[in-house]
């Protein structure tokens, strides 16, 4: 949706001086001015240096990029202490590139991607009285992904939760560099299977920007350029919002299941099937695979399909409204959700939460708000920050998306399958694209070298940043409420593990 294209050379605006100290001072100053860090990552540059890229969202919604080369052995003085939102980024820089951080409070590996034994990791411990430790996972009951949770518990109350991931690490970013950069869509679709459309759109938008392929795109030769509308937007927006609708329905079904509220579990679950079947009629895959391709599209939209989709939207809206009323009107459901797993707005901001979880804590973070293609789609927020707020947030977003989809169809859009032709990629260019997936912002950053070959591919799923929100949310809660807190965040293991 938003793509920022900048020259690959290390640059950062607003500061004349260069070097890591100036870059760090600029970062601190930006955060002080209310800029939000969207991502912060690095790649090996010349021998003995690492090129760090920080992407900010300015208060108006524009994206800004600040890059610097640094000596990993020297690194810089950590910022996690003052800005906890940066903890995943600094931990990742340390793990992937060996960047040293002086005074860092917790350089725990994120994914154990260089091997090692995740099970031998020394967790935080508690001692005394009724305190005990509970290990859940990495293998879980039910068919879900692996991830380990170590609880330090006082009686039934959680004192601390340490989340330990990396079991799904597949080396995605390295795999993405092995093939033709224009043919990566099938791989990108599997980074996080429940967010296929958002990831693939982010990839396609970045490639189109690098190749100058999409209509209205200017590749940033000198200064950074924010690109405008691309072809196939309507089809992509349809798929993205259908993915959001389907996953919100799936999440609400899971939440009802974990609460023991059978009607919600079965009805939301049934509606989710209806939603993904609608996606299948558009692009042939229930998970939106094949629907988004760089410069092209796999979506077919003709009068017959439009009519079917309209019927589906009407059905979803009607039935979801009915079960919403039963679900959120049940006193026993409210009793479980209200006040449980609270993340106040200030904590959400400090932790750098994004997407659904941030909006449920009252932060209006939504990349769609800065995109004219999603005009008319309101940014919904809830003030509570508890499990109820996250459930209500999903209900409201679900209906907002259904209305938005209805509005898209009102323009009688046509779409046909077209193979994209992507020309050579611009050399020495970095393209950062951000798409608001159902969980939150999906960030893809692609950089080319002097010959226009892809030299670095950075993927960031919103889960990466929100896991810490879950860990903080369960503090002081009963351990038996962990499953509903977990379900209310609904984070991806593989998206985080890459």
């Amino acid at each position: 949706m938003s793509v920022r294209v900048v020259p690959a050379a290390p640059t950062f605006s607003g500061v004349d001086a260069s070097g890591v100290d100036a870059w760090r001072a600029d970062l601190v100053a930006r955060l002080g001015r209310g800029h939000r860090v969207v991502t912060l990552f690095g790649r090996p540059a010349d021998v003995g240096t690492v090129r760090i890229t920080a992407v900010f969202e300015e208060p108006g919604g524009a994206l800004a990029v600040a890059r610097v080369d640094l000596d990993p052995a020297r690194g810089y003085h950590q910022l996690t202490g003052a800005f906890p939102a940066l903890h995943v980024f600094e931990r990742e820089l340390h793990e992937q590139l060996g960047v040293a951080f002086r005074g860092h409070p917790w350089l725990k590996p994120l994914r154990f991607e260089h091997g090692g034994a995740p099970d031998a990791y020394p967790f935080y411990r508690v001692d005394g009285g009724q305190s005990h430790e509970v290990q859940v996972g990495p293998i879980h009951a039910g068919v879900i992904e692996p991830g380990a949770f170590r609880f330090a518990v006082e009686g039934e109350d959680v004192h601390h939760l340490e989340i330990h991931l990396g079991y799904q690490h597949r080396g995605v970013e390295a795999l993405l560099l092995r093939r033709d950069p224009r043919a990566l869509a099938p791989l990108v679709e599997t980074v996080a299977g429940d967010t296929s459309v958002a990831h693939t759109w982010a990839y396609a938008a970045a490639i189109e920007a690098l190749a100058g392929a999409a209509a209205g795109v200017e590749t940033g030769a000198a200064a950074g350029v924010e690109t405008g509308a691309a072809a196939h937007d309507t089809a992509r927006a349809l798929l993205l919002e259908l993915e959001r609708v389907a996953m919100h329905l799936a999440g609400l079904s899971g939440l009802a299941q974990d609460l023991g509220f059978a009607q919600g579990a079965s009805t939301y679950g049934r509606l989710r099937t209806t939603a993904i079947n609608a996606t299948m009629r558009l692009c042939g895959s229930r998970f939106g695979r094949g629907g988004v391709r760089p410069g092209g599209s796999g979506v077919t939209l003709d009068p017959e399909r439009r009519a079917a989709l309209r019927d589906t939207l009407a059905l979803l809206s009607r039935d979801a409204t009915e079960i919403d009323a039963r679900f959120l009107g049940s006193s026993t459901v409210l009793h479980r959700l209200q006040g449980t797993g609270r993340v106040p707005a200030a904590m959400a901001r400090d932790l750098g939460l994004v997407g659904l979880a941030a909006r449920a804590s009252g932060l209006a973070i939504d990349r769609r708000a800065h995109d004219p293609r999603f005009a008319g789609l309101p940014v919904v927020t809830r003030p509570g920050g508890d499990c109820l707020a996250r459930a209500e947030q999903r209900v409201h977003e679900l209906h907002a998306s259904l209305r938005f989809l209805g509005g898209l169809l009102a323009n009688e859009p046509e779409a046909g399958v077209s193979r994209g032709t992507i020309g050579p990629l611009a050399p020495d260019t970095l393209a950062v694209s951000v798409v608001e997936g159902w969980r939150g912002e999906v960030v893809h950053a692609l950089e080319t070298d002097r010959e226009g070959r892809l030299i670095h591919y950075k993927v960031q799923d919103p889960s990466l940043r929100n896991w810490m929100g879950l860990a903080q949310a369960v503090r002081g809660e009963e351990i038996s409420d962990f499953p509903i807190c977990n379900k209310s965040f609904d984070l991806s293991y593989c998206g985080s593990d890459l």
Binding site: V136, E156, G260, A262, Q263, S266, R336, T340, F482, P483
Partner: protein
Amino acid sequence: MTAAAVLAQAVLLGGLAPVLPGVVTRTKSWWAGRRGAPVLQPAYDLVKLMRKRAVYSATTTALFRVAPWTVLGATVVASLVVPLAGPALVSFPGDVVFFAYAWGLARAAMMLGALDTGSPFEGMAASREATFSTLLEPALFLLAGGVGLVGDVDTLGAMVQVRGHDATGWLVWALSVVTLTVLVQVEAARLPVDDPTTHLELTMVHEGMILDHSGPDLAALQYAAGLKLATGLALLAALFVPVGLPPWAAGLATAAGCLALAVGLGTVESLTARLRMRAVPAYVLVALFAAGAAVLASAWHGNGGAL
């Protein structure tokens, strides 16, 4: 006690044990708009488990192997004093104490078996079971005292036949229904206290304690759970069966009552979410207060309107 009575008891209670959980599940499916598993699915599962081999963790001892069969044995013994069709198979003054502690023995065996695994999930589940039953046991005794006083009876079989001859009598009867309903929900590990369908180890009570059991051992525990549900519902149903019916009619009425109550249980489970763990003791206190009120009412009644 005739052979026919023994047979009737065995067929009714023993037969209802694997059926009632299926009826509850089927009711929940119906409310959820699904077709659901066959009513006899729990019975099929028992057959399947009996044909499997048990697997034992290296950390467990003989206690873990003995526990399931102790649970089953104690639950069967407890069911003998429950009247289904006319008089109970075994009946003696104060048999309600025997009944309570036979269930207590089953619970103790299950908790020890759970603790024997050394798993934190089983330990937490056993701890929760202990907390809830500590509150529930006095409720059963207070209720027996209240009903015994108002009806001047001392066996379980006679207690369930106590009906009101006046306002106090009916009040005690109504309080018995409330107490036994909560008792069944807690003892049989049903919603809103426990969720038998959950796969979430951190929230389990009864399911948590049987996580490590397998094969015939698990079958014994599952059957005992079904029998406990059948026994509890039979006691509750007996409160609604008219007094003085011929044994065959009373037996049929009790069985029909059990099935109806299982449907009722499933309906409650379909329309409510599970309680927060911290709120469960408060829910169990409902039983304790209802039973306490029954004692006070019958004491007041016995003293001719003065306490």
